[in-house]
């Protein structure tokens, strides 16, 4: 996702001009940083939204990656889970990993996902976002004692909805709800 990288204070009087400038000049005086805006960060995008969208997507990807890594060895101590997720999701994930360890269960392979931000409330207290993912577990297998342990007849590719919350300047995924009855 595109990010304007523009973090300096923009006064109200210059905002419109700056937005036009951003569109026209594509931020050629931007400080070094992430990629300049693409079509998704258009002139109608309020300041900060593109950064927020990118940060939320990054947090979601990082949460997924952290959990996949942790689930591969049933490692409930994985530090990245706490870095990118928040309660109640964080507690749910750790509990799931503790149970996996007690049950002798690990996950092998990697799922794929395609997440979109469906709503963003930057003015909220705190700012929040809603996400919609098409989560594909086809190549992510649960094993017990090295043998496939998945219960029969379950959905492989389905909708996951999630929410994100901004806390102390960082976005966290705080809920993640699989809808196993909603294929995608």
């Amino acid at each position: 996702m595109g990010v304007s990288g523009r973090r300096r204070t923009i006064t109200a009087t210059t905002m419109a001009a700056m937005l036009l400038f951003t569109t026209a000049a594509c931020g050629d005086d931007d400080p070094p940083g992430p990629t300049p805006p693409t079509s998704s960060a258009s002139a109608s995008t309020p300041p900060g939204e593109a950064e927020a969208r990118a940060a939320i997507t990054t947090a979601y990807d990082a949460y997924r990656t952290a959990y996949i890594t942790a689930a591969a060895t049933a490692d409930a101590e994985n530090k990245d889970i706490a870095k990118y997720t928040y309660f109640p999701l964080r507690s749910d994930l750790v509990t799931a990993l503790q149970q996996a360890k007690e049950q002798g269960v690990t996950y092998e392979g990697t799922p794929t996902w395609k997440v979109e931000i469906t709503s963003l409330n930057l003015g909220g207290t705190p700012p929040t976002a809603e996400l919609n993912d098409c989560f594909d577990t086809t190549n992510w297998k649960v094993l017990r004692d090295g043998k496939p342990a998945g219960s029969p007849g379950q959905a492989k590719k389905f909708v996951v909805t999630a929410t994100a919350k901004l806390i102390e300047g960082a976005w966290y995924i705080d809920t993640s709800t699989p809808h196993r009855d909603q294929p995608c």
Binding site: A71, Q98, G104, T137, A149, S176, T177
Partner: protein, 303 residues
């Protein structure tokens, strides 16, 4: 490791993650069930192992093995991940890090400067609270960070109990002289300190534990090798009873001795509980008292 030769596969579809999580420990029945992880991973069959509370195989009895934590009189893990067990509620708590931002609904209207939000995660069967909720607290939950558990606080309360050995009374009494072959009566007046019930409460911020002690018996070591067990405080002697035997607690010496040492040991049965509900326990302790008796040969015994 976790396989069982003939396992009953009762498949119960559980959609809510916390239900499965709370079924982890000390589930009442051996029911395997399909568990679907909260993040969307493949569902699998959870194999219940009621013989091993706290999970089987890889984690027998849990990490650490600190016996200080118990719930419904069974040992439980004091710490699971970043969460600590609270024996007053039966739930695990974790200080939320970072704290929710000011204005977040998780504060439930509380002032962020007045306390902290803890995440109440797993709750064991029989817990007094519901799992998976944020909880505002002005002090950490009991037991948090290795703090005092109910059992440890109970030990303090027990030490404070105003209980003692018997207030020994005998007939004949210590100053008098008994005779071989005649009944000796033993008793203690029943007061809070000799027979109970006696209570004491120990408290730390966020937790109080009350211990209640009740005497159940007194074992009288009579000094002649005899032990007399009385499940009562005995009966006070009166002159009008003459040479009758005590109806409840007595002894007859067969030999004379100027200095029988009598030791009376009271067994106290103690129950303790967290004030307001939570973990409970029982234990027993003893207290003793000593006196001396003089028994002389009977010179003349006449009807």
């Amino acid at each position: 490791m976790l396989t069982r030769p003939a396992r009953a596969r009762l498949l119960v579809s559980i959609t809510a993650g916390f239900l499965a999580a709370s079924a982890l420990l000390a589930a009442p029945a051996a029911a395997d069930y399909v568990y679907c992880p909260p993040d969307g991973g493949e569902c699998y069959i959870v194999i219940e192992d009621p013989g091993t509370p706290g999970g089987g195989g890889d984690n027998p009895g849990g990490g650490g093995g600190n016996p200080a934590c118990s719930w419904q009189s069974k040992p439980v893990d004091c710490k699971k991940g970043g969460a600590w067990f609270d024996g007053t509620s039966g739930c695990y708590y974790e200080l939320m890090d970072p704290q929710p931002p000011a204005g977040d609904p998780m504060w439930m209207g509380h002032d962020p400067n007045a306390g902290d939000i803890y995440w109440r995660g797993q709750c064991l069967p029989g817990a007094l609270k519901t799992p998976n909720f944020p909880e505002f607290r002005t002090t950490p939950p009991p037991g948090y960070g290795g703090g005092m558990t109910p059992a440890q606080l109970a030990a303090r309360a027990v030490a404070m109990l105003p209980i003692d050995g018997p207030d020994i009374h005998t007939a004949p009494d210590t100053g008098g002289e008994g005779l071989v072959g005649l009944p000796v009566w033993m008793w203690t007046p029943t007061t809070i300190s000799t027979w109970g019930p006696a209570e004491a409460t120990a408290a730390i911020p966020g937790m109080s534990v009350t211990a209640r002690a009740t005497a159940t018996r007194i074992v009288w070591s009579m000094g002649d090798g005899t032990q007399v067990t009385c499940n009562n405080p005995g009966t006070a002697y009166r002159g009008s009873y003459g040479h009758k035997k005590s109806p409840t607690c007595g002894h007859v010496y067969q030999e004379a001795d100027e200095n029988y040492t009598v030791t009376a040991t009271t067994t106290w049965s103690i129950e303790w509980w967290v004030v307001g509900g939570g973990e409970t326990g029982t234990l027993s302790t003893t207290r003793d008292s000593t006196t001396t008796l003089t028994i002389e040969e009977a010179q003349v015994v006449t009807g």
